[in-house]
Amino acid sequence: MAVNREHICKACDGTGMLADDEAWKYTCSVCNGDGVVMPGENTSPEAPFSVDETNRTLE
């Protein structure tokens, strides 16, 4: 099935993956990893991230 490029997540470019400053990869928090953001869909993460003192993610 052809992918509708209009709805591809701009954060991860449809890969579902992001990377942090240290190049650690993790599931895209904007599209929750599915690579697609539909019109009207809330792009904010559903739950707050948890980070430590030096801001390493503690999912």
Binding site: C12, D13, A19, K25, Y26, F49, T54, E59
Partner: protein, 652 residues
């Protein structure tokens, strides 16, 4: 008063503050490390600060992350980093020399010193009797410029090690046991200090394994004493003169006490998808695997590979298994070759990769979708391996090697063979050729920074103006993450050294007109952003503050901030304020023009600022949480300007 090792390290480097847990302290930093993913921006920050030469005793730039060169971006970065290290007086560890943490330990780490690194696992060098901490890029740039590092005084968590590790149980199982007990938040605001009779059995590299994954507990750092074992290690590295003894005083106490009896441990494993999800290997034994992966800074030692080689020697790994060997330093790889361990691994069916971070950070060796991957790496958060729907287990080299042979998760004690004894090479290789020392000052001053087309200097940033008249360019809701402010991904991160380019992605997900509108307002006094609760949560990336600043963001008014992003805003001179009355958030609209008057004096004199909304009969109050030090940073327009001023005074 008798002191433990952590307290000694802090006391001897304390520049400001009291050693009371929770209080902000300023520490002198002796050494730094940067890696290439974070280092390019650090070098650009040094350039913007006008730094002449690193003020630390030793600073090193490692190229260990972006070592796959599929186009010119990474090699251009390598050239830039090399020229910058020569210009600013840093060591340069060339691609292929290995992962920063073990290479730093082998060549530069010194007991009794402090180390700050722009990498989470910098804490690994705590194995050497150092206070080693991970931090953001600008913090490390500041340390290289001779500025203090500010951190909350941690509680010291003393872990007494007793007993002896049984056969088939190794250092990785010690840290997995601590993660089993306390999960991934158990170490926050703590330094973990190991002591006791059980230490004798742990080599310097075993201690590295344990210290490294202090990051997974969220700890500020991990500290081991500098004892005879560290002396032996340094002697082996031909650096015995760098050794000093550093042990806890007789009668020293800890803020928190705990004991691990090594004799009671068994092979452990962290199930998907958290390093804190730890169970005995026997509980998940029999689960089929796709991949078994040995290496990374979490298990970087000679013995970690040699034990695996001895386990698989003369045998064949199970059909369909990918058995990946990720050497962590060229020096250690050379010894594994000399002692024929690499031959044993290859003959058993292993795949050998170049010395570097590789699959540990999701750059290569991603597992097949949904298939189980066993790794000796430090993290298994969802997606870390590079596969979105990954299923990664963290374990020791013994468990990884045993499972490679059987094709299923295997408790290595059930292999039915005698536990191999690994002998370290009698005369280990010392390889200094790929760690280039900085040139002398007169030579360094002539070095030009080699900037490829994808590297751009950080533009000058102006001081905080006394009157701000700024439109609200964007109004956003709660929980806006740094991924939404500036995403990190294959499309965006390649421009991490190019602020004009990376800024084009700012807020793109929330409002793709923001960049153009911001560029239009940039030279007319800039703009403001209004947000809800927990603004700026998530990744620490400093670009999420730098890029909006580049686009003219002057002030962020929100209900509350995520702490680290708030810190980044301060560092880069964006005024972070919160509503005194949260209901005022609802009264503001995108396009409203806000007027802040007498900002500079108001910031210095009080916490509340008055804001008028132009052409509307409405005003409201905001407050800030800046310390005196941070107010000074804000007034000067950010940390870079603070250091730049100081450099100019010194050079005048």
């Amino acid at each position: 008063m008798p002191l433990n090792v952590t307290q000694k390290l802090i006391k001897s480097h304390l520049l400001s503050g009291e050693m009371t847990p929770g209080e902000e302290i300023g520490l002198k930093i002796d050494q730094t490390l940067t890696q290439d993913a974070t280092g390019t921006m650090v070098m650009l920050e040094l350039e913007a600060m006008g730094l002449d030469r690193a003020k630390t005793e030793a600073s090193a730039q490692y190229v260990d992350h972006n070592i796959i060169q599929e186009d010119s971006k990474n090699p251009d970065d390598h050239l830039f980093l090399r020229s910058a290290t020569q210009r600013f007086g840093l060591y340069y560890s060339r691609p292929g020399n290995g992962v920063s943490h073990p290479v730093h330990m082998q060549r530069l780490a010194k007991p009794g010193k402090t180390l700050l690194g722009s990498d989470s696992h910098t804490c690994a060098n705590g194995c050497m009797g150092m206070l080693a901490m991970g931090a953001g890029g600008i913090d490390v740039a500041m340390a290289i410029a001779g500025e203090p590092f500010y951190v909350k005084m941690p509680k010291v968590w003393g872990i007494k090690l007793t007993g002896e590790l049984p056969d088939w149980v190794s250092a990785k199982d010690v840290i997995l046991e601590l993660l089993r007990r306390h999960d991934v938040k158990g170490g926050i605001n703590r330094v973990i200090e190991y002591y006791g009779p059980g230490l004798k059995q742990l080599s310097a590299m075993d201690r590295h394994v344990i210290a490294n994954m202090g990051a997974e507990l969220g700890a500020t750092g991990t500290v081991f004493p500098s004892d005879e074992e560290i002396k032996r290690f340094l002697k082996e590295q031909d650096r015995e003169e760098d050794w000093i003894e550093l042990v806890a005083d007789e009668g020293a106490s800890y803020d928190i006490d705990e004991e691990i009896n090594l004799s009671d441990l068994e092979p452990l494993i962290a199930k998907p998808s958290s390093p804190g999800n730890v169970v005995p290997v026997r509980e998940v034994a029999g689960e089929p695997i796709y991949q078994s992966y040995i290496g990374s800074s979490a298990n970087p030692g000679y013995r970690d590979f040699a034990i695996a080689a001895e386990i698989v020697k003369g045998k064949q790994i199970a059909e369909g298994i990918s058995f990946d060997i990720n050497p962590t330093s060229r020096q250690m790889l050379t010894d594994l070759v000399k002692e024929s361990h690499i031959a044993s691994l290859l003959q058993a069916g292993a795949r050998l990769h170049q010395a570097g971070c590789n699959g540990c950070i999701g750059m290569g060796q991603a597992p097949a979708t949904g298939r189980n991957s066993l790794r000796t790496t430090p993290r298994n958060f969802p997606g870390r391996s590079g596969t979105r729907e990954d299923s990664v287990f963290l374990c020791s080299p013994e468990t990884a090697a045993a499972s490679a042979l059987t094709g299923v998760i295997t408790d290595p004690r059930t292999l039915g063979m005698k536990y191999p004894k690994v002998k370290e090479p009698r005369k280990p290789t010392i390889d200094v050729t790929l760690l280039e020392a900085p040139p002398p000052m007169d030579q360094a001053k002539t070095v030009q920074l080699q900037k490829g087309p994808n590297i751009a200097s950080i533009p000058e940033m102006d001081a905080l103006k006394d009157t701000l008249e700024v439109p609200i360019l964007l109004k956003v809701g709660d929980n806006i993450s740094t991924d939404e402010i500036l995403a990190g991904g294959a499309r965006v991160l390649p421009y991490r050294s190019n602020l004009p380019e990376i800024s084009k992605f700012t807020f793109e997900i929330v409002d793709d007109t923001y960049y153009t509108r911001a560029m239009n307002s940039r030279d007319q006094g800039g703009h403001a952003i209004v947000g809800g609760f927990n603004y700026g949560q998530g990744s620490s990336r400093e670009h999420a503050a730098l890029a909006p600043r580049f686009l003219g963001l002057k002030v962020a008014i929100v209900k509350d901030f995520a702490r680290i992003h708030w810190q980044n805003l301060v560092n880069f001179g964006i005024l972070p304020v919160t509503f005194v009355h949260e209901e005022d958030y609802d009264k503001l609209e995108q396009g409203d023009v806000l007027i802040f008057s007498n900002v500079r004096k108001a910031l210095q004199l009080r916490n509340e600022l008055h804001v008028e909304v132009k052409d509307k009969n409405f005003s409201f109050s905001v407050t800030h949480a800046l310390s005196e030090r941070q107010i000074d940073i804000m007034l000067k327009g950010g940390l870079i300007n603070v250091v730049k001023d100081r450099q100019q005074m010194v050079n005048a």
